[in-house]
Symmetry: C2
Subunit: 182 residues, 2 copies
């Protein structure tokens, strides 16, 4: 691909790479333009602000969350949390780097500021994981599992595991936290 191409796809791939190395806060539009070999104006042409880029980078994760939640909600109430754990384990393993950025670098407060829609999806994840009769304890467990999903991405030794092993380990950890059958 020639340098100088600032397609949406290329900007997002480049931004994710920079976010995972420098953090969201430590990445500027100028750094993205430099890494792409384009003028800052070419990036501005697609995305007016860094928040717009963050939203675009995170969009595939939040789209996948929404699809998964929609599927899970077709099931009986008492099967939903377990099915969501399994689905999140699969996604976390498949998209390790994106998950490390989504879960590690985007605080709930940031999310609300940047996108009320994304914040609503996040709440829906937590509430579904917390089960049909949520209380403080089950909500805490759900929050721990959601944060814990980034563990495999940030732990170098664990990140070396193959996808199938890691997915099983993440799913069984989630089911254990939430007190669901393995």
């Amino acid at each position: 691909m020639p340098r100088g191409d600032a397609s949406a796809e290329r900007v997002c791939a480049c931004a994710l790479d920079l976010f995972s190395r420098h953090g969201v806060a430590g990445t500027s539009l100028q750094m993205i333009a430099d890494a792409l070999g384009v003028a800052k104006a070419a990036v501005y042409y697609r995305y007016r602000t860094k928040d717009d880029i963050v939203r675009a980078v995170l969009a595939p994760a939040f789209d996948a969350f929404t699809t998964l939640l929609d599927e899970v909600e077709l099931r009986p109430v008492d099967e939903r949390a377990g099915a969501l754990v399994d689905g999140l384990a699969r996604q976390a393993v498949t998209h390790r780097r994106l998950y490390a950025v989504v879960l590690g670098d985007v605080s709930a407060a940031d999310l609300g500021r940047r996108s009320p829609d994304d914040a609503a999806v996040w709440l829906r994840l937590r509430e579904t994981l917390a089960g049909p009769a949520p209380d403080d304890v089950s909500r805490t467990r759900a929050a721990i599992f959601l944060s814990g999903l980034m563990g495999p991405a940030v732990d170098a030794d664990v990140a070396r595991l193959d996808d199938a092993t890691l997915e099983r380990a993440v799913a069984s950890a989630g089911r254990r936290i939430l007190g669901l059958p393995d």
Copy 2:
């Protein structure tokens, strides 16, 4: 306290506040100096680089990890993981904001680059949590719990819980993940 004071304590408190709002990567020495109302040279006088400040901010967490590990290792081997879970739950709740920075914003790779000592402590935490006969699955569970510890800090609803409730919920989640008795 008068503006213009760049004591080690004040620099660290100010840096932690900026780290938790802008991320480690998004915070510059200049921002710390501006927030303290001092010249950048006054910050340089204490800390030559931002990495030095990061190490100083994280030091209380890593000192507490080391103290806890030393205590835990006096116990019989099969009690260590559970005792460590309980101790980490207590620390995570007491130092919520520091934990969100330590666990959320400092990748394992960064840690190794910034401080081999801190990286060794982190590995010791993970290995103790993984138990006396660690394998891929138990190491993954340990990594999930360590990342999950920041959940209470980044989830606004959960962060509102009182310390005792949150500590119990975090400890029981950790024991469940690792397959330990509650």
